[in-house]
């Protein structure tokens, strides 16, 4: 990773929410009124199916690179596990990205 300064949690959260909205729009899904830290991304009440999740992860990697000039990799063996997946909710994903930007997972 080659970040200049690690962006703060607010900016990362904003990027996750924007990217999630973009994927939903692209896939013609109905947008919820609000998307926040507690919003579930997949699973029973989740917003996305498995292709949606894959699309979101790749878009976020590229958006992080374009906006923060940092190269992160979201691939994770726990991806599709509902309990411990770093992608289970908007908040968990934001925290996961921040930990990668800080140089560890």
């Amino acid at each position: 990773m080659h970040a200049n300064a690690v962006p703060d949690a607010e900016r990362v959260l904003e990027l996750v929410i924007q990217s999630t909205r973009a994927v939903l729009e692209q896939r013609g899904a109905t947008l919820p009124d609000t998307i926040g830290r507690d919003t579930a991304l997949f699973g029973q009440n989740g917003l996305l199916d498995s292709i949606g999740i894959v699309t979101l992860m790749v878009d976020i990697e590229q958006n992080v690179f374009d906006r923060f000039h940092a190269s992160i990799q979201l691939a994770d063996d726990r991806a599709m596990s509902q309990r411990s997946s770093p992608f289970r909710s908007v908040g968990a994903l934001t925290d996961f990205i921040l930990s990668l930007l800080n140089g560890g997972a």
Binding site: I51, V58, E61, Q62, F65, S71, Q73
Partner: protein, 233 residues
């Protein structure tokens, strides 16, 4: 975004990869290529990367650079490969590992990172190189043939995983072609392979590009997960 289509070919320093770089430049592609060593030739609209296909961060940096400069990737040809001819009882672990890293892990990394770029335009054509050593069960080539069998299996499964993104994945399996790869193989061994083919001659570079041309045509969007062996192997 670059208006012309962009192709990435691995292992372009020499052999089949070098020929493919020339062929696709001629056909109007912006061509990017890689090998571990630098190239001693140059072409218009060709960019070389000194990247080992099995080096994850190197592969990522190469794809970041393609995305930044071109904003697109249309074609990936996984050509880089190494072989070793030996009886299994005499094959060192280091050789077995090197073959799998270059021939199987390399294509996996290249496909993963390339598909991320291709997905942006919902379009991509991926062609892997296999070998007739796999279906012909050539003795002395167990690790080489097995590494290519892994790529064959990846081809079939990734065709399904990547279809939702408009990306096709196919494999071309050449017969022996005169390159450094088979320089150490004795002439009677090569002849024994040729004798097992339907068309009894050595392969040519053009045989390979002809099959790849077919797979990468925009019209071939309904052809994926296929394995095409040359020479009737």
């Amino acid at each position: 975004m670059t208006p012309e289509p962009v192709a990435l070919i691995t292992g372009t320093r020499k052999g089949i990869g070098k020929y493919l770089a020339e062929h696709y430049v001629k056909r109007g592609f912006h061509t990017e290529g890689c090998s571990r060593e630098p190239v001693d030739w140059s072409l218009d609209r060709y960019t070389h990367h000194c990247t080992d296909v099995a080096d994850e961060s190197g592969v990522r940096a190469m794809l970041d650079s393609i995305r930044e400069r071109h904003g697109r990737l249309d074609v990936l040809i996984n050509n880089a490969g190494i072989a070793s001819m030996n009886h299994c009882l005499l094959t060192p672990l280091a050789t077995a590992e090197r073959i799998f890293r270059t021939n199987a892990i390399g294509p996996f990394l290249l496909i993963r990172e390339s598909a991320k770029v291709m997905k942006r335009r919902n379009y991509g054509r991926i062609v892997n190189l296999g070998t007739v050593a796999t279906p012909l069960k050539l003795e002395g080539e167990s690790m080489y043939a097995a590494s290519k069998a892994a790529v064959e299996s990846m081809t079939r499964i990734l065709a399904r995983e990547l279809a939702p993104f408009g990306i096709t994945v196919n494999l071309v399996g050449p017969t022996p072609i005169q390159t450094d790869l088979i320089r150490g193989v004795p002439q009677q061994k090569i002849q024994a392979i040729i004798d097992q083919l339907a068309v009894k001659r050595l392969g040519r570079f053009e045989d390979v590009s002809n099959a790849i041309d077919f797979f990468i045509r925009p019209e071939s969007d309904y052809i994926t997960g296929q394995v095409l062996y040359l020479g009737g192997a």
